[in-house]
Symmetry: C2
Amino acid sequence: MTRPEPQRGFPDEEFAARTAAAQRAMAAAGLDALLLTTEVEIRYLTGFLTRFWESPTRPWFVVLPASGKPIAVIPTIGAAAMARTWVEDIRTWSAPDPEDDGVSLLADALREALGAGGRLGLAEGRETHLRMPLGDFRRLQALLPGVAVADATALLHRLRFIKSSREIEKIAHVCDRVSGVFEEAPGWLRAGLSETTVFRRFKIACLAAGVDDVAYLVGGAGEGGYGDIISPPGERALAAGDVLMLDVGAVFDGYFCDFDRNFAVGPASQVVADAHRVLWEATEAGFEAARPGATCADLFRAMQAVIADTGFGAEGGEVGRFGHGLGMQLTELVSHSPWDETELAPGAVLTLEPSLTLGPGKVMVHEENIVVDEGGARWLTRRAPREIPVLPA
Amino acid sequence: MTRPEPQRGFPDEEFAARTAAAQRAMAAAGLDALLLTTEVEIRYLTGFLTRFWESPTRPWFVVLPASGKPIAVIPTIGAAAMARTWVEDIRTWSAPDPEDDGVSLLADALREALGAGGRLGLAEGRETHLRMPLGDFRRLQALLPGVAVADATALLHRLRFIKSSREIEKIAHVCDRVSGVFEEAPGWLRAGLSETTVFRRFKIACLAAGVDDVAYLVGGAGEGGYGDIISPPGERALAAGDVLMLDVGAVFDGYFCDFDRNFAVGPASQVVADAHRVLWEATEAGFEAARPGATCADLFRAMQAVIADTGFGAEGGEVGRFGHGLGMQLTELVSHSPWDETELAPGAVLTLEPSLTLGPGKVMVHEENIVVDEGGARWLTRRAPREIPVLPA
């Protein structure tokens, strides 16, 4: 019954294909090199996977030239791990260095790739940040006076938006394992447990089921609904009449799931039962709308239409959207919002996350994960039941 | 026997004291406002604690004016959680917004705090980054033409370097719980377990012992030593003759521990047993040196002297230092390195992390956590045994 665990890592050909695609896009955009500074940017092209990014001490850099493999410019402490990737050109310095924390080494690598002038691509747009001190970035620019910096956000997004079958397999795996944890949760979730205890047991159950980490777990619980979906758990005990929501971003081999489940503690009120059905139907409508050529805005409208037909207020304004991209990050670019006209294509992995207002200060959110195939969408999560599950009160 | 769990959160007076100290430092530095964009900067002054930062989608901002409480400029989805902190002035926008993701709202708040000109403090120095898109930062600067930006890294570091007794209590708690997990580990750690299994069971044991998250777990295992201390676990099974090291950054209420333990699988070789003793003695020397008025460089030299007296090569060059600051982050500013002349004072929380070379491509690292008191240092971790623990082979 248990799905086998997918192979960890990727063969070199996967990184070669990603790199070639990046270089074709760079040529089209007139970019002579890319500078990558964040965990996901660097991992995508190199396969460098480590929890060490949790420490803010050291900057890490990868330069992608117009042709050839990526060049790593990294602290010595990462040299052995980087040497096990497909990257060959690894340049290191003993970090932290208060005088020059890799800046001149990076400038040298960029100069080789760019020549005296040249155009350097850097992610500067939505949902990005530069993972190096701003002061060091200014020093770097001063060392490269002829170089023009151009925004590479869209280029990098298009590369990562369409997942390979190996990537989809990893996401499907973590979705499957966490789906099982949710299905078994009514066996131990019950009134009287504190939120803190619920969160802790849920994380343990996910690890025991085979995920690597539970990087993200938020939720809410309250009588007749919850008002806040991003807070850590409190000491309050679950009580009859509560609605409990758990939203989990667990990780397998560097790939995330991101979905939630709602539970009623004791029999659900009519409004709670109805809200759950409406969100379930909205998710169904989002699923039906998700096919190659449809846009994220189409998915938003499909889900919104279901909610608008009921008496519930749609919460798109508070959450800001009805779902998003998913993969190496808990949330990736594209938003199911009226303004996002990104076209879906086979290999796009998405969340469907409609929400609605139950009453003053009470919301309900439901979320599933899907992948777009040639003919339509495919569930990666095992579908939530249409009727809200009821826990012992 | 079990220590009670410390109270979660902080009373408002703690945030008021932090804010007043920040504002005194701002006045001394001639800064009219601070702009905070990262999780720790914002949490330090507001108490805003959420796992939602895992999503890169939305920027979050806090403005600290020259007087008064911090002002939050945040996505609507965080309004309810921020309203439970001591912050009163909460300004929100529906994020993500592709046209204006909080930039004009933030510019308005900064203009109020700064007037037409003014000096804005921003963390631009070592171990910092700006958590907003670089393009949006450029747009922000264009909206504030008369404003000068000054580096606030040192100011923010000095505030956070000395912990309050409530902060120390949280760090001591997570150190204590994880110390217990390490002490019980020889009851289940044994040859034949794969690294992946060891990591998973260790995380489960930490959660069961009462930590909130195991945000960081790295390690190494290999015959006669390990060569890489930052990689994820592999499928290789522990075997007789191996040295296993686990380095854990677990979290309680937003505060980290960061320490490691080494184990020999089956009887340790002479060189492994000696290396463990040397590192234990080096840590002891670091502990003795850690008192108010001593510098981080003093701690480095004390530990280095112990290692230099033996035949082992000191690995300061690879890891780059022999320990660092600890608290809301796994690693915080200050490095036990010859170049860091930061003076210790009561309330400084530090790791002691000497390392050495066992042979070609083989290192050993040992790490403990301490707090500096009036009269000297105090262990926060329960001390590792001097002799390397031996696991069943």
